[in-house]
């Protein structure tokens, strides 16, 4: 039977996490987690979160989770964003790598990686792209050569989010040079310090040092750092990238919180701003709501055994475009003050809107551009032929 109310258990869960978050979230917002200084402060917060059992609510208890249902996880996310808790600098590990380890990792890997990663004791960045392999991931050229007890990694990775501050990274390397494209790739975890690796930070559009370029030259990695089988890296990675596009990366809580802040902003300026903005504010609120219900429906589908594969492509197009429009609406409300960056005394909401706008503009690009997503939706959901 359809039931769109939360169960008593779900409501109790919400009350519990709300109470904890309200008591524990830092009163002053932390500096950006994409700066070196902010990153350290964010890790402190991650530790506190983990120790109270709120870091990865849906994980098994043995790894520090509380075995929450997916609905409860969404509830946690809503509450987390509602109080504007610090952004999760561990997210590429806990949301993208962890599902892969749960599915493909050995027991030893799970024991070694999951808990330290979630607690922020071991920070792990993604290292998907190469300078000439962005949307076309299968064209990557970094290699891993067999050596005694392990592999030697060589090549260049780029756009490694927070890679400049992380201990390790994960990515694909060509282990069988005789094979092309999707074949002969292996999924490796590798260190970001020590001999054979150079990390160069790259400043993002919004000024934060959010990216890193990784230069690897005969970097030794032991066998135990391979996730899944040798030469089967593509299959392993696809599981991760589909969670990047799908449910885990963008929970509705974030957009609902943004819409709420937009309504507050509009409330401040409704008497003086362009009357046409009213409809845009309403659309932003509706978009977040629609995304929430779409997500609940997807979770029900997942839990009742219906696959949600390529449809997550439509999902990504929706939230990324919504996020851009929502921020554009906020900028329009702010009139000339829209240009004010953080550090400006006269900026509304500490310059969060222009910063958020720039971050929103990355949405249609990362995790597979929206152009690629539309191709996937057309070909795999609608069954249109490849071009």
């Amino acid at each position: 039977m359809m039931d769109l109310d939360f169960t008593e258990q779900e409501q109790a869960f919400r009350a519990e996490c709300r109470a904890w978050l309200e008591a524990n979230v830092p009163k002053q917002s932390l500096p950006s987690g994409d700066t070196r200084e902010g990153y350290a402060l964010h890790l402190e917060w991650e530790r506190k979160l983990f120790d109270a059992g709120w870091s990865c609510v849906s994980w098994p208890k043995e790894y520090g989770g509380r075995e929450a249902s997916l609905y409860e996880w969404l509830i946690f996310e809503e509450e987390y964003y509602r109080v504007q808790a610090p952004s999760r600098v561990t997210q590429n590990g806990i949301f993208l790598l962890a599902p892969t380890i749960f599915e493909f990792g050995t027991e030893a890997q799970k024991a070694r990686i999951l808990r330290p990663m979630a607690r922020g004791d071991l920070s792990i960045a993604q290292a998907w792209s190469e300078p000439n392999s962005g949307s076309d991931l299968a064209s990557l050229r970094s290699t891993a050569k067999r050596t005694e007890g392990g592999w030697l990694l060589t090549g260049q990775k780029t756009w490694s989010t927070r890679g400049a501050f992380s201990d390790m990274a994960y990515g694909l390397f060509r282990t069988d040079p005789s094979k092309a494209r999707h074949k002969g790739l292996t999924y490796f975890l590798f260190p970001l310090t020590g001999e054979g690796v150079t990390v160069r930070g790259v400043d993002r559009l919004d000024g934060d040092e959010g990216f890193a370029e990784l230069f690897l030259e005969d970097l030794f990695v032991p066998d135990e750092n391979i996730i899944g089988e040798v030469d089967k890296g593509w299959e392993v990675a696809m599981a991760t990238t589909s969670s990047e596009r799908g449910l885990s990366l963008r929970s509705p809580g974030r957009f609902m919180a943004t819409a709420t802040r937009l309504i507050e902003l509009y409330g401040r300026y409704r008497e003086t701003c362009d009357p046409a903005l009213r409809d845009q504010v309403i659309d932003a609120w509706m978009g977040a709501q629609a995304y929430r219900w779409y997500t609940f429906k997807s979770v029900t589908d997942m839990l009742t055994g219906k696959p949600i594969g390529a449809e997550s492509s439509l999902n990504k197009v929706f939230w990324s475009e919504m996020d851009v429009r929502t921020h554009e609406t906020a900028l329009a409300i702010l009139d000339e003050r829209q240009c004010l960056d953080e550090g400006s005394a006269a900026a509304d909401d500490e310059g969060a809107w222009i910063k958020g706008f720039q971050f929103a503009l990355a949405g249609p690009i990362y995790a597979g551009t929206n152009e690629i997503q539309r191709n996937i939706a057309a070909q795999r959901v609608l069954g249109l032929p490849r071009g």
Partner: protein, 344 residues
């Protein structure tokens, strides 16, 4: 939280889908375009016999006391088939209204006639500038202030107009309220009337989603089939992106509409708060469904190219149904204003 239809509900949907696929194929709609008035509500007999028209009526009246959630999928299929006639009004919005308010009056006799498929209902809210389905509906439920009148077609002062969708009848109405037609008035009547409005808007949204799905299916099929420059046009990235955008609109409208159906069916569970939630949900459903259907219509036509621009191609039935029905029971603008009043 559990956001899925029950097996019974999807079974019901499959049944009506099969009936309509057989009895309301495009050639049937095509006949309605040119046929006489008697042929203007095809399949109605079969639908009524199978209980689809009376779903929302009480068992006592021969119905099944079904909820908005049960009806949502059925009405979506009606949209998918471009079923002509006042199905939203007769099955979802008007029938329970008439049954509730006419109890103990002579007008109550109409309820069973509607359930049996013998008569159809039109619904005309205050400030509505056209009466949808009116020259065809047998009984018009006319709202004036806090009063509901049940007006036989001939006495409603109808002047038939021509809609761009020839399978849908519209009229202007010049009705002077008569005590003989009065069904009920007052606060309780007003609550029932408001609920009928919500149901009409919801039903309209369900039909829009069905129409959008059908137009997308037609366009996808055409894109796979039609070749230009030596390959199917559906292999062109521009065509793929058009269709992916259309699919996205539908994928995000559906949960919004289903959630509105649920919210309306459960509007009284938590007093004023849940009624407010239902109103917001219905308004969102109307907006998302209307805008999805209008968007998909444009995409489908663009993908079809010139062939879609002829009345020999079935596509136009579905597009014109959208253009005709979409503004009724509150345009997107009306519903946005209602949401704004709540949240801003």
């Amino acid at each position: 939280m559990h956001f899925a239809f029950s097996e019974d509900q999807t079974l019901l949907r499959d049944t009506v889908r099969d009936v309509l696929a057989k009895e309301c194929a495009p050639e049937v709609v095509r006949r309605v375009w040119t046929g006489s008035n008697e042929e203007r509500v095809p399949v109605w007999g079969t639908l009524a016999e199978n209980g689809f028209v009376g779903m929302a009526a009480s068992e006592a009246a021969g119905g099944m006391s079904m909820s908005e959630v049960d009806l949502a999928l059925v009405l979506e299929e009606a949209g998918y088939a471009a079923l002509p006639g006042p199905i939203v009004e007769s099955a979802l919005a008007g029938l329970p209204l008439l049954e509730q308010l006419s109890a103990g009056t002579p007008h109550a006799a109409w309820v069973e006639r509607v359930v049996s498929g013998e008569a159809t209902l039109g619904l005309y809210f205050e400030r509505q500038s056209l009466a949808l389905h009116a020259p065809l509906a047998d009984l018009l439920l006319v709202v004036r202030g806090d009063a509901l009148y049940a007006v036989p077609r001939a006495e409603a002062g109808l002047v038939a107009q021509t809609a761009v969708d020839r399978a849908t009848s519209v009229a202007t109405l010049d009705y002077k309220p008569s005590p003989a037609h009065l069904v009920a008035r007052g606060a309780a009547a007003q609550v029932a009337i408001q609920l009928a409005y919500e149901r009409a808007a919801l039903g309209n949204a369900c039909v829009m989603v069905g129409l959008a799905r059908r137009m997308l299916d037609l366009a996808v099929a055409y894109a796979k089939d039609r070749e230009q420059f030596g390959k199917p046009i559906g292999a062109q990235q521009a065509v793929q992106h058009h269709l992916a955008n259309a699919a996205g609109r539908i994928a995000f409208a559906q949960p919004v509409v289903y959630r509105a159906a649920w919210a309306l069916a459960n509007r009284d569970r938590a007093g004023g708060e849940s009624r407010r939630e239902a109103e917001l949900a219905v308004s969102m459903a109307k907006i998302y469904a209307e805008e999805a259907a209008r968007f998909v219509a444009k995409v489908a036509l663009q993908v079809h190219g010139a062939i879609g621009y002829t009345i020999e191609c079935d596509l136009h039935f579905f597009m014109k149904r959208v253009w005709t029905l979409a503004p009724f029971y509150g345009t997107a603008a009306v519903h946005r204003a209602r949401i704004g009043a709540h949240i801003l």
